[in-house]
């Protein structure tokens, strides 16, 4: 798994616009986050995977909040911890009382292949406003360029970019709401 220096390099390249570096960053981060959340939510691997996905979306949409003067892992785990606390609060608010102390203990294996997350991100995408959904579908799923997506929908290029950006933020919020069973 990647160390601090590698991860930091990948994120900074991603911030500069290098897509493959950003993808590699998210992939490495996912592995570390899986270990982090499984250690803390033993016996609830689907919840852990939900949180991995939630945190990945947060790392992605908020990637500009990383301050290169400080360790990348501090930034990443601060966000992961925030998502975890938010998750536990949501559970409590919904009256799910199974304390994490009672969950069965098993060693979290960060290399373990991702189990399916409990919630379906694809279904959440369907709940986005039409314009945001169209922009994300065309550019992110059908691999069209922003230009092509703009032509296909009649929106301007910056409209498409803003819709994708807003859509990702809305997605993060929906993930939060749909987080607990």
């Amino acid at each position: 798994m990647a160390d601090e220096t590698q991860l930091r390099g990948l994120l900074l390249k991603g911030l500069a616009g290098e897509e493959s570096a950003h993808r590699a960053f998210l992939t490495e981060a996912a592995a570390l986050l899986r270990g982090f959340f499984r250690n803390r939510l033993r016996g609830a691997p689907e919840d852990a995977e939900d949180l991995v996905q939630e945190t990945l979306v947060a790392l992605h949409t908020k990637r500009d909040t990383y301050d290169p003067a400080y360790p990348l892992t501090a930034w990443m785990y601060a966000i992961a911890r925030y998502r975890l606390i938010d998750h536990l609060r949501r559970l409590r608010r919904r009256g799910v009382h199974n304390s994490i102390d009672d969950l069965d203990i098993g060693d979290a294996d960060p290399e373990y292949e991702a189990s399916d997350a409990r919630r379906d991100v694809a279904a959440l995408l369907e709940r986005l406003p039409e314009k945001q959904r169209a922009a994300i579908r065309l550019v992110k799923i059908e691999e069209k360029s922003v230009r092509e997506a703009a032509d296909a929908t009649g929106y301007s290029e910056s409209d498409i970019k803003i819709s994708i950006h807003r859509g990702m933020k809305t997605l993060m919020r929906l993930m939060g709401e749909a987080g607990a069973p």
């Binding site: 979306v57 947060a58 990383y66 601060a78 997350a117 550019v139 691999e143 970019k161």
Partner: protein, 210 residues
């Protein structure tokens, strides 16, 4: 959806991102101050003897600006996660300490029979009400800015945003404030700003969630 698929979705077409947090924060504060000044002008209006009272207006504005400046590093730091706070809480507390010291020194300098008047201003200290009201636009803008960032310590961030907005609100309030006694300002302005911080701390967890 498998996590690998999600990563693919996120990464595809992810362009460069600018990191212009300082500029956005400066712009937010400038807008907030502008709105507070507009509120003072259309509301109670600047004090009637504004031209003759330029000196006291100026030092009260500077005092308020110093309060905002003392809170600014903490608020800015809390907006982006994973960075140590170090001396930044201390800067805010040090400002309160210096203001308290200034109050004592100013009161010693007053004639004993005028001390109460100099300290309490004679009448209700309206800044306690008006400074939070004038701070509200800045606070709203800062909350909006913070939500676009990633604050992870919401109560503390709320308090810092509240105090910073309070400093900005007090800057605008000093255009109106008719009381020029040093001890009054160093006491009641600080209490008003602390009140803003308390509001911020209470509202932070709710408003800043992302």
């Amino acid at each position: 959806m498998k996590t690998g698929r999600l990563i693919e979705l996120l990464a595809r077409g992810a362009g460069p991102r600018r990191q212009d947090h300082t500029r956005r924060l400066a712009l937010t504060l400038a807008c907030g101050l502008g709105l507070a000044l507009a509120l003072i002008t259309v509301g109670p209006g600047v004090r009637e003897d504004f031209m003759e009272a330029r000196m006291p207006v100026m030092w009260k504005t500077l005092f308020s600006a110093a309060a905002a400046a003392a809170m600014l590093p903490l608020a800015a730091r809390l907006m982006r996660p994973g960075r140590p706070l170090a001396w930044r809480i201390g800067a805010g507390l040090a400002f309160v300490g210096i203001a308290a010291l200034a109050t004592v020194i100013a009161l010693i300098g007053e004639a004993p029979e005028q001390r109460m008047q100099a300290w309490l201003g004679g009448g209700f200290p309206w800044c306690v009400v008006l400074v939070p009201l004038l701070a509200a636009p800045t606070a709203a803008l800062l909350v909006w800015l913070a939500r676009s960032c990633a604050p992870t310590r919401l109560t503390l961030t709320g308090a810092a945003i509240g105090a910073l907005s309070g400093g900005v609100g007090a800057m605008a309030y000093s255009m109106y404030c008719p009381i020029d006694s040093i001890a009054f300002v160093t006491t009641w302005y600080v209490i008003s700003i602390a009140l803003c911080a308390a509001f911020g701390a209470l509202a932070g967890a709710r408003l800043l969630r992302w």
